[in-house]
């Protein structure tokens, strides 16, 4: 009996323990910090997509735009104003949410790859605008931050920022995992399966979609903020259009059944594109091949594979035992 009562606690406790392990592993090592920042950036972008794509089946992929908005908000507040940098986080989130809602309204009749194509074109147009509007964004040179985020008068160093970033990713994954099972999440997932039926049941489907897109855009904007704070610079090239595709691949790689799959996928992407980059971007090749292989051989991602293996193991131990699923 106590086991079932403890069950809701298992997720935060286990993931929290892993988080503490990760933070101690990263420590003050500059290289590991780079890895951690990249993982959190990819992870947050993937988690952003999780809210509306994996749960709600809206393949809106303009994530390089949202991340760039979060990053440029920091850069512009740091260089153009004397405001505290923390102000830029809500500013970036609001701007990204506004853009995502406008884009969502313009594309509300589209689904599937039509939606993906239009949002991808938006990504490209936004990228072109970032380079084009050099009066606002500094053009191809981008913006170099002159100061870092300060809390209570003390400027945050890179060590603290990495820890905060990791905690942020953990928190968002946990919240999304809860959201998934909340009434909102259930409505969203039902909409993905049968949107007409859900609408008939009295759920405002357009609002539901727009809210899920806003959640994603907000998380995407945070991803850009993390990347920019850690590197103290933002330029169009640092968040290329291909990020939009990474965002789609990451959940498939890790596993779509839970936001933690996104975190695993982000770890893998970092490992493949950053750590195993033997020569001239072969990491990207390896990554693309890995995605194809996972999709063919483990359609539920690595989490699904692990679950499958443990399921078989348990089944072998107690034959005829109950099926977890």
């Amino acid at each position: 009996m106590s086991a079932t009562r403890l069950r809701p606690l298992a997720e935060p406790v286990i993931s929290g323990a892993l988080l503490i392990l990760a933070i101690t592993w990263v420590g003050t090592d500059g290289y590991r910090q780079d890895l951690a920042v990249l993982t959190v950036t990819y992870g947050l972008i993937g988690l952003g997509l999780y809210s509306h794509f994996i749960m709600g089946d809206s393949l809106s992929i303009a994530y390089n735009a949202y991340a760039a908005i979060g990053g440029y908000a920091l850069g512009l507040v740091a260089t153009r104003t004397g405001w505290p940098l923390l102000v830029s986080l809500p500013l970036g989130i609001v701007a990204a949410v506004l853009i995502s809602v406008l884009l969502g309204l313009a594309t509300r009749r589209l689904n599937g790859f039509y939606l993906a194509a239009v949002t991808l074109l938006f990504s490209e147009a936004f990228q072109a605008w970032l380079i084009d509007a050099d009066g606002v964004t500094g053009g191809a040179e981008g913006v170099i931050l002159t100061r870092s985020i300060s809390v209570f008068g003390a400027e945050l160093g890179r060590d603290q920022i990495v820890v905060i970033a990791l905690v942020l990713m953990w928190l968002i994954a946990l919240l999304l995992s809860r959201l998934r099972r909340s009434p909102f999440g259930v409505a969203l997932r039902a909409k993905a399966q049968a949107s007409v039926a859900v609408e008939a049941a009295g759920v405002p489907v357009t609002a539901l979609t727009l809210i899920s897109l806003s959640i994603g855009a907000a998380i995407g904007s945070l991803a850009g903020a993390v990347f920019t704070t850690a590197n103290l610079s933002i330029l169009p090239e640092s968040i290329p259009v291909s990020v939009a595709f990474l965002a789609v691949f990451i959940p498939f790689l890790g596993g779509r059944s839970s936001p933690w799959g996104v975190v695993i996928g982000a770890l893998l992407v970092t490992e493949l594109t950053f750590n195993l980059n033997f020569f001239q971007g072969s990491g990207t090749l390896l990554f693309a091949v890995a995605v194809v292989a996972v999709l063919i051989f483990a359609p539920e991602g690595l989490i699904g594979l692990a679950r499958d293996l443990t399921g078989r193991l348990v089944g072998a131990v107690n034959r005829g035992g109950r099926d977890e699923r």
Binding site: A106, T107, R109, L110, G112, F113, Y114, A117, V118, L120, L121, F122, E124, A125, Q127, A128, W129, I131, D132, V241, S242, F245, V248, F249, F252, Q280, G281, S282, T284, L285, F287, A288, V289, V291, V292, L295, I296, P299
Partner: protein, 291 residues
């Protein structure tokens, strides 16, 4: 008014988009999904032909042949390695497979970069520098070749789709795959044929048009995107759909660049996509079924 010279270039670009869209169209007709890897075939073919002619010194025709054969081989590999294991007819669960095709696109792009280098290469020059004056415009031999080959490719495609058994099977299977399976149509053979065709069309586009302004490995995604747009604009009801869509897309893009500068390319493409998807999602050529 747009000068005649720009119109010549629009026709060239339109033919290129049209061929790529046709490659997507044949797979769409035979199997009901978008093969987003076509941009990868085109880039591979273009780079292979450019590499073997400009770096290895082979004649242009041999380079183009290598490019097209390579693209066909890649298309067949896609069918065997990706589509075959993941394809579930009638299950309406094609998303993972299409995502896998997008990943294939990236893999092909990177393979091309690793094999043939990441620098832009000049494409193989099949014809000399000859040119014909046409009013105020100059039509180069290269442009004439591109348009001629596109016309030939579409002519053959038309004959194949409407005049052969295989072509009839292709249309039938795309229309209703579970029914085609029940009727015992050779679904797999037709799909393999359609992938071969897709590889040949995309390979032709990549290697012949590479001579226009060179080719670089990371264009694959744009090629796929423009092919998809051209196909959506043109519609899938007729073989002419992809060509019409390609020409319209090229017109929109070139006009935007001509009037508003290079950055307008992306804005205009976005605007065109939003407008077409909102008001004419079935494309210009629609299927009309009488009941």
């Amino acid at each position: 008014m747009i000068p005649l010279q720009v119109i010549v270039s629009i026709i060239e670009t339109g033919c290129f988009f049209g061929l790529l869209a046709a490659a997507m169209f044949v797979v769409r007709e035979s199997s009901g999904f978008f093969n987003f890897a076509v941009g990868g075939y085109a880039v591979f073919a273009g780079l292979a032909s450019a590499y073997f002619t400009s770096v290895r010194g082979l004649p242009a025709a041999a380079g183009i042949a290598i490019g097209v054969v390579g693209a066909v081989a890649l298309a067949l590999l896609t069918e065997v390695l990706v589509v075959r294991p993941m394809w579930k007819p009638g299950a309406n669960e094609e998303l993972p497979m299409v995502i896998a095709l997008v990943a294939t696109l990236f893999a092909l792009e990177q393979i091309s970069g690793v094999l043939f280098g990441r620098a832009a290469l000049p494409g193989p020059q099949l014809v000399g520098d000859g040119a014909v004056r046409l009013g105020s415009a100059t039509v180069t031999a290269q442009a004439a070749l591109e348009v001629g080959l596109t016309a030939l490719a579409f002519g053959l495609l038309l004959l194949f789709v409407y005049r052969t058994r295989m072509g009839r099977g292709l249309r039938a299977i795309g229309e209703n795959t579970p029914a085609a399976i029940v009727l015992g149509l050779p679904v797999r053979a037709v799909r393999i044929a359609s992938f071969t065709l897709a590889g040949a069309l995309a390979g032709l586009a990549g290697s012949v048009f590479a001579a226009r302004s060179g080719i670089i490995f990371d264009s694959a995604m744009d090629y796929t995107l423009f092919a998809f747009l051209a196909l959506v604009i043109g519609g899938t009801a007729s073989v002419w759909g992809p060509l019409a869509g390609g020409l319209i897309l090229a017109t929109i893009q070139s006009a935007a660049i001509f009037y508003f500068g290079a950055a307008a390319l992306h804005y205009a493409t976005l605007a065109a996509a939003v407008l077409f998807f909102a008001f004419r999602p079935q494309g210009i050529f629609m299927k009309r079924v009488r009941v």
